[in-house]
Amino acid sequence: MEKIIEIRGLKKKFGRLEVLKGIDCSFEIGNIVSILGPNASGKTTLIKTILGMVIPDCGEILFSGKQVVNTFAYKKHIGYMPQIGHYPDNMKIGQLFEMIMDIRQEKTALDTDLLKAYHLENMFHKTMHTLSGGTLQKVSAALAFMFNPDVLILDEPTAGLDPIAAEYLKEKILDERSKGKLILITSHIMSEADEISDKVMYLFEGQIKFYKSLQDLKEETGELKLGKVLTKILSC
């Protein structure tokens, strides 16, 4: 399968703290990859590095075979859903969507599935500071999927969403995979990762502990649930 993102020798320090200690991996299209790991294992930093929010100390990131550190054009192929959506207080939902559309200027048809499913269009006139955390998550999700990107990066996507909305999001994710997209998800909820992941990457203290397909993991350990798989691998 086609490697869309390739990471080579990625290192990052925050002050004296080494957060990423040399990451080498690649992500292929048509996959859902769950990035797991304990707190402070470097998950968010890895994602942020791919997105260009954090600039690596050394190493390379290739997107469709091209070096992309310190560039920005490749980001039009990425949809990002942050962990906590926080937007300018007095901006209206409508204005936010308008603005991002304005910035991305994409000619292709917009994907408004989530927008409709979450009934966001009826709330376009509402200002951000009046919204609940859940609604903000919905806004973030809708934004991420809107432009039909080849890669979706979702940081704790279902945290804060109501069960129905979360369920719908999962369906949407599976749907996008079937269209041949790469979806990177960080999550703490094992059952969720278990349910949808094709591959699992486990980060520990800035290094990849393992990065394998879910199926292989289950076969290797003989366990059926991802949670059990992890405890088994990590305990030995």
Binding site: K48, F72, M91
Partner: protein, 255 residues
Amino acid sequence: MLKIAKYIILDIIRSKVIIAYTLLLMAISLTIFMTDADVTKGLVSITTVMMIIVPLVSIVYATTYYFNATEFTELLVSQPISRQTILLGKFIGISSAIMSAFFVGICIPVLIFAFSVTGLTLMASGALLTLSFVSLAFLTCTLTRDKAKGIGLALMIWFYCSIIFDGLVLLFLFCFSDYPLEKVMIFLTALNPIDLARILILLQLDISALMGYTGALYQQFFGSGQGIVFSLIMQLVWIVTPLLIALRIFKKKDL
């Protein structure tokens, strides 16, 4: 760049702080003009107030807004636009919002009650002051990581520029009054944007007194328009330099 600026302006002009700032400025200028029959005296009073409030609000508000929009900045960085565009867009957005508050609160009353060269100078120096302190706010924000430190630094910069600096200069003058200090004084003035704005207004209000100075350098500085050119250029340097440094830092900054 302008797209980002546009949405930031749309956001800020509805914020309570900016509306309060506009109303405060307007209340000050209207009260002064209403109670004082003498227009020049009114302009003097407005200048005094402006030199304190405009830098304070500009730097503190810009810093606060910048930090409150951290996550929004992250979202923007994840979009296909360069960091330079993002920062400059933010600068244009925030500064034009604060500037429009200044325009409505001070410039319109001045235009109505005191339309004169002095009035126009007051507007120009207020506008430049706004820009230079927003620019300093951006530097503050990129230098610090959290909001409390950022606002603390912003307040310190304001306090230093508006009070401490001139006190130090006065002390310096007392200590070295026997030496020829003209060049040094002009140089020192250039180190503080508030002083530069003040000099611009002095050149209008107190030109009669300034012309009384014997030194050749002061004569040239005050008398020939050189002072105005100097102040304007240095003020522009104060707007551009902190912003450029902020841009350099922001390009390499981890969010």
